[in-house]
Amino acid sequence: MLKITNLHMTFNPGTVNAKKALDGLNLELNEGDFVTVIGGNGAGKSTMLNAIAGVFPPDFGKIEIDGVDVTKIPEYKRAAYLGRVFQDPMKGTAADMEIAENLSIAARRGTRRRFVWGLPRKERESYKKLLADLDLGLENRLSSKVGLLSGGQRQAVTLLMATIKQPKLLLLDEHTAALDPKTAQKVLDITERIVKENNLTTVMITHNMRDAIRYGNRLIMMHEGKIIVDVSGEEKKKLTVEILLGLFTKASGNEFSNDRAILG
């Protein structure tokens, strides 16, 4: 499904601020995998996701999605394969446009945009049902500007946008980190439901170890631009935060240094 081979990325090379974000990363995902990703600050989690999405070209390495080498395909074209939700709720939606308009833009991801009506009435009606499934009371607010919604509502709409046109790969970059715990839980529940219903191959970065353990069928832990722990199947079901911390220390020779992740 997704195959990353020997991916390297250094930011600000040749300066004092040089930062090796990815250092020979290898990762292979199978169809239907739901992978959670954890790691300390600067471990390269977001860099990996952005490299997959094509936000920047990697220094070295190869990214394949479903057998297609996408390494050199620009971000907007690569979007045809991907659904993305970001940490910042403001990033995933156009604030001055209606909820329905946002969804209609997402529904045309990966197709050529034409000079035909952008939001036919029938399509608008179909969005009502999708929004009702979110159970956030948005089904009667199709014409509301997205900017009027709360952070949690915006993330839920972004999630809907990311999956309205079935992506080959769903990328979630700490998409609940900016939300209060109750809302975060709600968005996670919605995430799990949508992923299950559509059997989506998913990569979810989280800062919360418990969430990383609870969700998905596979867990990877990153450190200094590499994957140092990769647990799946039965082994993953038995994981606890303590076991995970132990695995980290053994693999990296360091104490896990992200309090937020342990306490969260």
Binding site: A53, E75, Y76, K77, A79, A80, L82, R84, F86, M90, K91, G92, T93, A94, A95, D96, M97, E101, N102, S104, I105, A106, R108, R109, G110, R113, R114, F115, V116, W117, G118, L119, M161
Partner: protein, 307 residues
């Protein structure tokens, strides 16, 4: 008496500048780019029309040529920005400078008369009522056209490009292409307004675009301050923007009637625009503080109740 006589002329010019402001609205409000090309492209529209008209070309073909010339200018600015990575403001200034030379070359001299007695112009200051009708028809056609355009799939993606580039790219929108297209349409409309203006005043002049962006911004600000309160949708906004142009010219005519030194008009326009642009910022700065303070109070009260 003098002022009343000048009213039809003010409305006619207001409508022409309203059309200009609609073009500016696309770059300034929809794409969120302060595009300085407009000072040049309004003049390009006037020059192209004037030269072709004096060569005996059909007036409607002249208008189409003016639109196309403006659109090309806008596309050049867009390419400076997207393909060459030059900041949008600088891209606009560069194109504006290029246009200054080109406009001189097109015109062949600093100005060119297109008298309504000699050429089949659609409107002129000789007949202000007719000028009002003609320029209003142009405004309506452009508003309807833009309404239809911005509700297509392509139109939606241009709006989202200006609203949230990050989201647009993630949803597979080619933001660079959209910026070039948006700037082309914007400057095409602006060149069209220049073509109308040249006919109205009876000549094209190399200096006619100077400071145009400030008049356009004033029209947008005046117009939106009213239309956003009535009904914040696309068509009402554009109608508001045209009304803003008319309001600007009514005030303009009035202060001239009062005997204000016309040399100072550009400065005063700029100051008025600066003040209006500052209002939202200052409002936020001073009113937000207040709100945080109130929130803090509300929270303390809650805690008290719990205790």
């Amino acid at each position: 008496m003098g002022f009343l006589n000048a009213l039809p002329g003010a409305v006619a010019q207001g409508l022409i500048w309203g059309l200009f402001a609609i073009g500016l609205y696309i770059s300034y409000k929809i794409l969120d780019i302060a595009d300085l090309t407009v000072d040049g492209s309004i003049c390009t529209g006037a020059c192209v029309l004037a030269v072709l008209l004096t060569k005996g070309v059909n007036i409607y073909l002249c208008l189409i040529a003016a639109f196309v010339a403006g659109a090309i200018a806008g596309a050049v600015t867009g390419l400076f920005h997207t393909a060459m990575g030059i900041p949008p403001i600088l891209s606009g200034i560069l194109t504006q400078l290029i246009l200054w030379s080109l406009n001189l070359k097109i015109l062949g001299k600093a100005n060119l008369a297109i008298s309504s007695r000699k050429y089949p112009v659609l409107l002129s200051s000789m007949d202000n009522w007719k000028a009002i009708v003609v320029s209003m028809i142009f405004c309506i056609l452009v508003i309807v056209g833009l309404y239809l355009f911005f509700y297509t799939e392509v139109g939606f993606s241009i709006k989202s490009t200006g609203d949230n580039e990050h989201m647009s790219r993630a949803q597979g929108v080619n933001v660079n292409f959209n910026k070039v297209l948006g700037l082309a349409i914007s400057n095409g409309i602006i060149a069209l307004s220049g073509a109308l203006l040249a006919q109205y005043q009876g000549f094209a002049d190399i200096n006619m675009g100077r400071g145009a962006i400030v008049i356009g911004l004033a029209a947008i600000i005046i117009g939106l301050s009213v239309s956003m309160k009535i009904m914040p949708n696309f068509v009402v906004s554009l109608i508001g923007v045209v009304s803003g142009g008319i309001a600007y010219y009514l005030v303009y005519t009035f202060v001239i009637f009062l005997g204000l030194d016309t040399d100072l008009l550009k400065m005063l326009s700029a100051i008025v625009v600066a003040i209006f642009l500052a209002v939202p910022y200052l409002k936020k700065k001073y009113f937000t503080k207040q709100r945080i303070f109130e929130d803090a109070n509300a929270k303390t009260e809650e805690v008290d109740e719990n205790a």
